[in-house]
Each structure stands twice: as C-alpha cells, then as structure tokens.
Symmetry: C2
C-alpha cells in the first residue's frame, strides 16, 4: 500500500494527450507488428476490470488468409447493405468513408467474451449479465490506449455479420464476438475523429451529456 504510485501534472497532461490522439484507425501501413509488442499489449489489456474478476476476454489472432477473406467479404456485403439505408448527399458521403482497414492492417484480432467461464463464479452478473461483455470492452480499451503509446493504431470493425465471422473461426459455442480489430501502424495521426473531420458527425460538448437527479 505504501508503494502506491503518485501521478503528477506532467503525467496527467500526457495522459490527456493520449486520450486525445487515440483514434479509430482505418488507414494502415502494412509493416508488421513485433509479436513481442503484441503480447505486451495483450498483457496490458488483461489489467482491465472485469465483473467478479472473471477475466472473460479471449484474443483470437486471425492469421489464416481464408478466414480473413471470409471477414473481408462479410464486411463488403454488410457495408453495401448499410449504404442502401442512406440517400442523396448522405449516401454519397457514406460511400466515400473508409470504414475498415482490413486490406492493409498486418494484424487482425477478434475479441470474444467467454460466456461459459466459471471464473468469478457468477459474482455480479446475475442482475446485469451484460457486464461480462462489458469487461471485454474494457480490455479492448486498455489495448487501444496501450497501442497508441507505441504508435500502433487500432480500428474497430463492426460492419460485419457476427454469426458469419464467429462460425469461420471455429471456437467454443459459448464465446460471443465483441469486436473485430485491425491493428497496425497508422498512415497518419490525428487529434480529431475521422467522422468529424469528414463531416459525418461532429463532437458534442461534454456538458450536454450530464444530468442531475
């Protein structure tokens, strides 16, 4: 307890920069990621909180070209389908957005939640079972921030059919797909979301999302 670290003003400012410059990256260079670095990022991800300390996160490193092609086709189809929901200028803008880095990112990681885990003995999950999935999201966010420290970008691809992607990975039945990540060095760095820069959706003021009760 006496070893508890202190975090000074300099660290705080740098941490704020980290949050500010973490991006959902879609434009990747193809240079590989050192496997030792990837392992380190995963270890840092595993320091996330989890309900009942259940640690339900499972990192599936998708290496196989055939499986990557299944994911790529799933994205292509789902993205076409989403495009058809928009009209006029919004459809034109949607079509111009780059929404995945599947072609260039050297690493693809599917994140699953192990709904069958006995770890944690169910503590905290009876009333809000979704907290098990949320634990995996916290691990993903640790991974994302840690990656940015090393200059590594992460892009979260949600425009896929989760059943299709899960099936092609041949995993235990009770694993649920939480995220499909592209990981690699970004082509450029930004402090503003790409969707804000390209005019899809601007940032809201934080005070507008706070209520008193």
């Amino acid at each position: 307890m006496s070893d508890a670290p202190q975090f000074d003003q300099a660290f705080l400012e740098k941490f704020e920069q980290l949050l500010t410059w973490r991006r959902d990256v879609r434009h990747f260079r193809t240079d590989p990621i050192d496997p030792a670095l990837l392992s380190r990022l995963i270890s840092m991800a595993c320091l996330a909180p989890s309900v009942g300390n259940a640690q339900p996160w499972r990192f599936v490193l998708v290496k196989d070209a055939g499986r990557r092609a299944v994911v790529r086709r799933s994205f292509e189809r789902c993205n076409q389908d989403a495009l058809s929901d928009f009209h006029g200028a919004q459809a034109a803008l949607y079509a111009r957005l780059k929404l995945s880095g599947l072609d260039d990112a050297p690493e693809q990681i599917a994140l699953f939640c192990d709904h069958g885990t006995s770890a944690g003995h169910g503590l905290g999950r009876k009333t809000m079972a979704e907290t098990l999935d949320y634990s995996v999201v916290a691990a993903i966010h640790n991974f994302w921030l840690a990656a940015r420290i090393f200059g590594v970008g992460v892009g979260w691809v949600s425009i896929i059919d989760p059943a299709e992607v899960t099936a092609c990975l041949q995993l235990p039945k009770d694993w649920q797909l939480i995220a499909y990540l592209c990981v690699g060095y970004p082509v450029e760095e930004h402090d503003q979301p790409e969707l804000a820069r390209l005019g899809w959706q601007q940032r809201e003021a934080p005070e507008n999302c706070v209520l008193l009760r």
Copy 2:
C-alpha cells in the same frame, strides 16, 4: 499531424502503473469530490471512441437522498438473492465480501446509453447494435483511469435491478442503464483486485487467453 505527441518509456511505465493500480473500489472515504474535478473527469471520459461517433454516453449524477435509498435497497435485495445461490464456504466468503460503496462514496453516477440518439446516423450499428452500449463502457473506462490519476476511486455496482434503478431516475424511455458508479477517495490503494486478495478469484495468465486462427 506534425503535432502528434510522442510517448516515451517513462510515460509507458507510469501508464502501466496506472493500469495496475486502478481498482474497483468498495471502501470509500466520505470526503467530497470537487465539482470542477468531476467535470474534468467527465470531459476526459467523453474522449472515448464511439460507434459512428455517436457519443451516446449520458452521465446522471444521482444526488437525491430518496433516489439513493431506492438504489441502496435494490442492491441489498439483489445481493441477498445472489448470496442464496452459493453454499458452504463459498457462501460464507460471499457474505464477507464488500460489494458496494453506496454508503460512503460521496458521488453516485448512473451511466446510460441513449438508444434514441440520432448522432452518428446509425453508422456501424446495423450489424452489431450493441456497439452503442460498448461506446459507453469505453467512456466509463476513460473516466475510471482519469479518476485514478487524481487518486479518486471508482466502484461499479452491478448487483442492482436495472429496471428499478432506471425507473426512479425519471429519464427518457430509450435510455439504457450501463453502469452505476460509486465515486470517491479510496480508504486504501492496492495493486491487486480485492476479489483476488480475498481468495474469490485469482488472476489468470494473459497467455492463456490468446488463440491463433
């Protein structure tokens, strides 16, 4: 782009300490949190990623004693109910665990996801709609890490009836409860989860949660 920050080894080590010493806190001091600090933490939370840049997080600061009492009773009932699922030594250990800081923490914040938001125009949510909720989890995790930098502890209470808690807060119908947080200065600091220290659930080795496909 030329202003992109570099993060050095010293920052990395400190960040790793931050992840290591962030805890789910249940033992709080009653000293108040400066409202300006709380606003700052919320602003840092709002730098989280969100699907389609939808920023669906809503922070409900629960101040009213009557509402807090509803939440307290909900926890008490749900916790008794959960205890009845365990037997023998495990039940005895469960009964000894402190699973909420509702009595002492000066701040209580309910985090909601606004399912009715038009921000983001649905981008990225058609195939995996749950990513809207996950965006709120990322904001919570930003808040949690930022709080720890200031020595402020966060405890996530999931042993409550979400319908009951939501009802007492009188919010728009399409807001979904993601988390109920206790926020305050912790009584002590630890680098190990309380559930590990007390023998409920140990840490797993990160390499055991990685698969190749």
